[in-house]
Symmetry: C2
Subunit: 156 residues, 2 copies
């Protein structure tokens, strides 16, 4: 069970749920490695399914491919990742998820108070941050616009 155990791109696509085009794309981007047949077709080791599952989990919680690559690259060279490896990576992302949730909850509460005061007031609303008043008070703190999509990278 060594060579005949390798998977074609179609098989990996079926089993991972990623379309073949995405698998090729991930390879170009350095997230996946493959061996090739003499004819040039891709053959995947079964362990790629773990990596892909990890990639999916990361993407699902909003981690960008650059960071996913960084995380995977940091795994002791090429060895099949251990439970401890996965655990470390996922623990780091738990923190990010917490931040995202926190940010959204803060937004919701801000929105609530706006609805509460019945006006979405320019003067008071926390969602209306760089607003007319803010101009008088200097450029002012922008209310977490970056947090919601990208987070600058904070170590995985």
């Amino acid at each position: 069970m060594d060579a005949h155990d390798l998977l074609t791109i179609g098989e990996v696509a079926d089993r991972s749920g990623f379309p073949a085009s995405a698998l090729r794309f991930y390879e170009r981007e350095g997230l996946l490695r493959t061996t090739r047949t003499s004819g040039g077709q891709r053959r995947y080791e079964r362990s790629v399914l773990r990596r892909l599952a990890f990639i999916r989990a990361a993407r699902t919680i909003g981690v960008g491919l650059d960071e996913v690559r960084e995380g995977l690259d940091r795994l002791p060279d090429g060895r099949t990742p251990t439970k401890a490896d996965w655990s470390r990576l996922s623990r780091a992302w738990r923190g990010r998820l917490d931040e995202q949730i926190e940010a959204l909850v803060a937004l919701r509460d801000g929105l609530d108070s706006c609805i509460g005061c019945g006006c979405l007031s320019l003067a008071r609303c926390r969602l209306y941050n760089p607003d007319d008043r803010a101009a008088e008070a200097g450029s002012g703190a922008r209310l977490l616009p970056p947090l919601l999509r990208r987070t600058p990278a904070q170590g995985v």
Copy 2:
């Protein structure tokens, strides 16, 4: 205080925090209307600041421009929006925020159980959804990938 009260694009940019390029873009996209000087330069009524604040709030919680436009278009034609208008719009988005939060919390809990079992197990992990096993069980439910960024539109 009628004509001399109009704002230039630069003033609106400063006071709203949006770059002038975004203001032009929003106009092209039909989110904003302007009057023009005889020479063709834009002049904004002060009420545009309210609209912009609303746009910022919406964008911040992840509402797309199409939906923002729909929401604003539904305001009784061109009249300056009332408190009730804002309130109605923002109440609709509160529901969306709640959904987003719920989705993230579900993810976090899934991640927690993965860390808990120490393995991010392919066999059990809820984050590893369309995984190797899933292939045996049919294509299977994809774990809310769409919810995280776009929500298909659900009435504002």
